[in-house]
């Protein structure tokens, strides 16, 4: 399992469009991918759950990725977050 933390820098937080892109990126992998924010943990492959976290700028999230393609998935997700959020 790979875990890493990320702090949202986008002033708009995770709004619908980047959320859709994030879910699309996550669902392309077979690994299970979860996002933890405060006491909540959700699957990064679920759009409504992701948006219901209500993530804003400077919120800190923790990603956990587990599965056969976890290395590639973690790399791409990290890249995506840094570029887009």
């Amino acid at each position: 399992m790979i875990q890493f933390e990320y702090t949202i820098t986008d002033p708009l937080g995770i709004h619908a469009r980047p959320a859709a892109e994030l879910v699309k990126t996550a669902t392309a992998y077979r690994s299970s991918i979860s996002i933890q924010y405060r006491e909540k943990e959700i699957s990064a492959k679920k759009m409504i759950a992701l948006m219901s976290l209500g993530l804003k700028q400077s919120d800190k999230i923790k990603l956990s990725i587990q599965g056969e393609d976890e290395i590639e998935a973690a790399k791409e997700l990290k890249h995506f977050l840094q570029e887009k959020l």
Partner: protein
């Protein structure tokens, strides 16, 4: 040009294209489901794939005409449509609650939208609109009606027989200019919501909500009670100019406090029905919320709101008011309100029926959930509880008893639960007669003059034939007010007034002379009320130089 009349309940002028809303959306909901769950489930999946195709088309169309960014919105909607959680909610409603696919997409959409509506951040709250769009799209497909599912992109006016508050919320858009109803009521929740949203609104308008009017230009003047379909150019231009001018001259609401000769401050509070109105409360510099009608979370839905959902709403109010008081009236629902979750039977006489605190004490499971949510949210601000429709001391004591149990329960769960003052809403003649006893147990009184007038005068406030008899200034009502105020003073508890009488400036002086210091009204009435205070009466920046 067709000229028609109506009765204006929210003042102002508006112009726009007609959008006809047929109320089959709310009508469908009461139809019993006679099909098997597996059949309805299959209908849902079919409708979902069709909605997916529609969104795909929209995505392609907008990509070519508007650009990639706009198209991505439809992509996001597609993902919400195909979301497992949404599917799970709808599946459960169909299988476990035996709902039809139509009912399930409506109820499921509301359930998910409620999560977003409870959030603090405006941007997150607006996500609820996406969910409403989806459930409307599915609803349209399932009911086989080819209607437009998005609010138009240009100024529009809603034309309908009647609208539910939920329907109005769904059509809310910066382009929505006004509402024309052939039916409707001045005392409905829709009226309150339209006032809060500052949407000019005509009811009892002499026009059918006929599809043939769709897209025609309409100009309305709610203050004059007139509307014009297909207006001529000169009239339309005059309207457009006047609307522009009105917008410019709108003054900011006075934020100075007002005092009596005695140095006592006049308190102006807001009546609201949804946390969406918070901005308008702050903008009008109200000193608190004197009446939060908590029914909204329960209206038009098939399942009860969860404790978490209610907690989010109450917490938002508590935080939003930044320490100023927020009086939450506990659920006041009866057979006349659209709350299918209670499954209430039709009543001959809902105003005298199973409603308000009566219903809550019968459905303690539901009531406890609300109390728990309020107690938890009380930690985030200055919340108070108010009990509606009381006719006996025993009812108030029962509520206080239940509240203690709930608070104890929450403390056992390890939560910090602050004290919660419990007030009595005085709106029945019985409560007036018992006000001395009630004052010993209540932390405060608030007089609901609308119902008190109706019950004192035995005049149905929704019967247009009796409109002239329904007078809140009737001497019998005023004697009741005097009685309640005496009891409140004797017990040294505050007593405010929160019906229509509270903003009726023809009676403000009389009420102040009787001892009323606290007036609770819809935010839309606040500017006129403050103007009255500053011009006629009790204006001063400090108690020392009062007239």
């Amino acid at each position: 040009m067709y000229t028609g009349k109506g009765f204006g309940i929210v003042e102002g002028k508006a112009t726009g294209k007609v959008l006809v809303i047929s109320s089959c959306v709310s009508a469908n909901i009461v139809v019993e489901n006679t099909n098997s769950p597996s059949f309805e489930l299959e209908r849902f999946y079919k409708a979902r794939s069709e909605a997916g195709v529609q969104l795909q088309n929209l995505q392609e169309q907008s990509a070519s005409s508007l650009g990639k960014d706009q198209a991505a919105i439809f992509e996001a909607q597609t993902m919400m449509l195909m979301d497992e959680d949404f599917e799970e909610v709808v599946r459960e409603l169909i299988i476990k609650k035996d709902l039809s696919a139509i009912q399930a997409v409506k109820a499921g959409g509301e359930k998910i939208a409620a999560i977003f509506l409870g959030m603090e951040n405006e941007q997150m709250r607006s996500k609820a609109a996406d969910i409403f769009d989806l459930s409307r799209r599915l609803h349209t497909i399932l009911s086989g009606q080819p209607a437009s599912v998005f609010p138009p992109e240009e100024p529009f006016i809603l034309l309908a027989k009647d609208l539910s508050p939920g329907e109005l919320m769904q059509w809310r858009s910066p382009q929505l200019q006004g509402i024309v109803l052939s039916g409707g009521s001045a005392h409905s929740h829709l009226a309150i919501l339209a006032a809060a949203m500052k949407l000019p609104c005509l009811i009892s308008a002499d026009i059918e909500s006929d599809k043939t009017y769709e897209n025609k230009i309409l100009a309305m003047d709610a203050s004059a009670g007139m509307f014009y379909l297909d207006p001529d150019k000169a009239l339309l231009n005059r309207f457009i100019q006047e609307i522009k001018r009105e917008k410019i001259k709108k003054p900011a609401t006075d934020n100075r406090p007002f005092y009596l000769k005695t140095g006592e401050e006049i308190e102006i509070l807001a009546n609201i029905g949804s946390p969406e109105e918070l901005d308008s409360v702050l903008e009008h510099h109200c000193q608190g919320i004197g009446l939060f009608r908590s029914e909204f979370a329960y209206l038009g839905r098939l399942d009860f709101p969860s404790e978490e959902e209610l907690f989010q709403v109450y917490r938002r109010l508590a935080l939003g008011m930044q320490g100023r008081k927020v009086v939450i009236r506990t659920l006041d629902i009866g057979a006349d309100k659209d709350a299918p979750c209670f499954g209430l039977a039709r009543e001959e006489n809902p105003a005298l029926g199973n409603r308000g605190i009566r219903l809550c004490l019968q459905r303690q499971d539901v009531f406890r959930t609300q109390l728990r949510a309020i107690c938890r949210a009380a930690a985030f601000g200055n919340l108070m509880l108010m009990v509606p429709m009381l006719i006996s001391l025993d009812e108030l004591l029962q509520v206080k008893g239940l509240l203690l149990e709930v608070q104890e329960e929450l403390r056992q769960e390890g939560l910090e639960i602050p004290e919660l003052p419990v007030g009595a809403m005085i709106e029945t003649p019985a409560a007036v007669m018992l006000s001395e006893a009630l004052a010993k147990e209540a932390a405060f009184f608030s007089i609901g003059s609308n119902d008190l007038t109706q019950y004192t005068l035995a005049v149905d406030r929704q019967n247009p034939a009796l409109a002239a008899l329904y007078r809140q200034s009737h001497p019998a009502v005023f004697r009741m007010l005097g009685e309640v105020m005496r009891a409140a003073k004797a017990a040294q508890i505050p007593c405010s007034i929160c019906g229509e009488l509270a903003h009726d400036i023809a009676h403000t002086r009389e009420l102040a002379d009787m001892g009323f210091r606290s007036f609770s009204m819809a935010p839309v009435f606040v500017p006129a009320f403050k103007k009255y205070l500053s011009e006629q009466y009790l204006q001063s920046a400090s108690p020392n130089d009062t007239i």
